[in-house]
Symmetry: C2
Subunit: 305 residues, 2 copies
């Protein structure tokens, strides 16, 4: 089950020493914000012999306003094209450039690994979204999967440094997406679980650096994003249907051809249609209504490490 010869089997370009822990990329996702504040108040917590850990509150104005963002979603501002575009001057575009100067650039980042802490109104448990499918990230995710049954590993439709997410400033690292949590609240249990995962990542990296690597399973289940589905809308863009009650909170459960997906306001069910079994995530995520995403379909894959 476990491969104990970690260092022999992984091609890491140098050790991972510089780690950035980011909270508040979205200003109303309080789990990461309060965790970063805690680490800033008690820096010993993230002190490891072989690591240099830094913390960032990514979107201070949005945090003060208790809003996801001020002008636009900061976590979509990190494409190389946008970072290089000096005509983009919104608050979040400015912050993205500042953060990229601090942590990036993507091809030669100032940090080795980024942990970006998020929450979601979807029932996604403790989801790890690796920055890339680099073996370093997948082995780390596989290790985290052994720690709690709610840990799932989900690769975005864009799981590469080409993505416009903050995490893509470095090839190594992940977003941690915990839920279901309403925006604007601190949920103690999920705060504890997120903190546990941050500590586990630091311990895992430190153990590799100290040449006493922690055991990693030889296989990993990932949920690979394949497409997003919008709500049924009318010509004005208004919702005509909502997530079916049988699908609500059923993230990562199999969805088969004919199973109810939406419910119209007049009471009709709209089923999922597709030959393959899919595993939806981000079901009824509040912030995705405006992005025209009701849910994201994934395929379940086994990866040998």
């Amino acid at each position: 089950m476990f491969d104990r010869n970690e260092n022999a089997s992984v091609s890491v370009p140098g050790l991972i020493r510089r780690v950035a822990i980011v909270g508040g990329t979205h200003g109303n996702e309080l789990t990461g914000i309060y965790l970063v504040k805690k680490f800033e108040q008690f820096p010993d917590l993230i002190d490891r012999p072989t690591l240099e850990c830094s913390t960032i509150l990514a979107n201070p104005k949005a945090i003060s306003a208790n809003q996801r963002y001020i002008d636009r979603d900061l976590n979509r501002c990190f494409s190389n094209v946008d970072l290089a575009n000096s005509t983009l001057t919104s608050y979040e575009d400015q912050r993205a450039k500042e953060i990229a100067a601090q942590l990036g650039p993507k091809d030669q980042p100032n940090v080795d690994l980024i942990i970006d802490l998020h929450s979601t109104t979807s029932n996604m448990g403790l989801t790890i979204l690796p920055s890339t499918k680099h073996r370093v990230n997948l082995r780390l995710a596989a290790y985290l999967s052994t720690l709690h049954p709610a840990v799932r590993v989900c690769c975005g439709v864009q799981c590469s440094q080409d993505a416009p997410m903050l995490r893509s400033l470095s090839p190594y690292g992940c977003t941690i997406e915990v839920g279901a949590i309403a925006q604007g609240i601190v949920a103690a249990e999920q705060l504890q679980h997120t903190e546990m995962l941050v500590h586990a990542i630091l311990d895992y990296l430190d153990a590799i650096n100290q040449e006493v690597p922690l055991p990693v399973p030889s296989n990993l289940t990932i949920y690979q994003g394949i497409s997003a589905i919008d709500y049924p809308r009318n010509a004005l863009g208004e919702l005509q249907a909502i997530i079916h009650p049988q699908l609500q909170f059923k993230d990562y459960e199999p969805l088969r051809d004919g199973a109810p997906m939406f419910l119209t306001f007049t009471g009709e069910s709209i089923p999922y249609r597709g030959e393959t079994i899919v595993y939806p995530v981000f079901i009824n995520e509040s912030a995705y209504y405006e992005k025209k995403i009701a849910l994201v379909l994934t395929e379940k894959q086994q990866i040998s490490l």
Copy 2:
């Protein structure tokens, strides 16, 4: 159990004929907004032989912005003092005056009964918050309590027309507060339950008017608000503790002396201290962080009708 001689035992000052159904008093509580939109699209749904039902989307700008409010909480703008104060010109103060002109004034309202549809991030099931403790409201609430096990009747600390809530424009009516729901999402099951309650209220009123009143239990359990408790904060007002994981989502469950209430960021439990058993509500309501309310304590009371 049931008193079938309703008309004989209740002193109603005239029949209740004019009913206002309000959604979007808070712009990010989508349950009421989509239900009002549905009723506006299909007005036959709220058509009853003896009733004149109207609908209002109370805070259109906040609804468009998907925010609770623009300038200040509309549902705290309805005190008589504020309504009479022409120097209060925020968007919500203006809307409050417009709505009061339409539904009020409090001492001689243009509608007989107001149903104000809300949602909460607290686990409050299907909570009825009567506008006043008038026997008409309590009997209606008792009737609704028979329809679904999640129905609870909660009287605010201010359960009178002196309160600054929209519902207080009329002595008759209630707020319906459903949860737990994150802001900015439509949750199908809770939408269906809220719609069921609105229909039940209309049917109940129509049946009285038609002199075939529906059966009402002779006793009612109410949860009477007695005080609000803030989060432990430091001198800067920053949170020092959060709702204890053992208390999260435990609205309406008994809280006894010594039971954990808060958890500090350093891991210490802070217990509830009090001689009487209380029943907390609005536990970890997102919108109440800024109001300095972590939870509201209630006492459980039996009322004979």
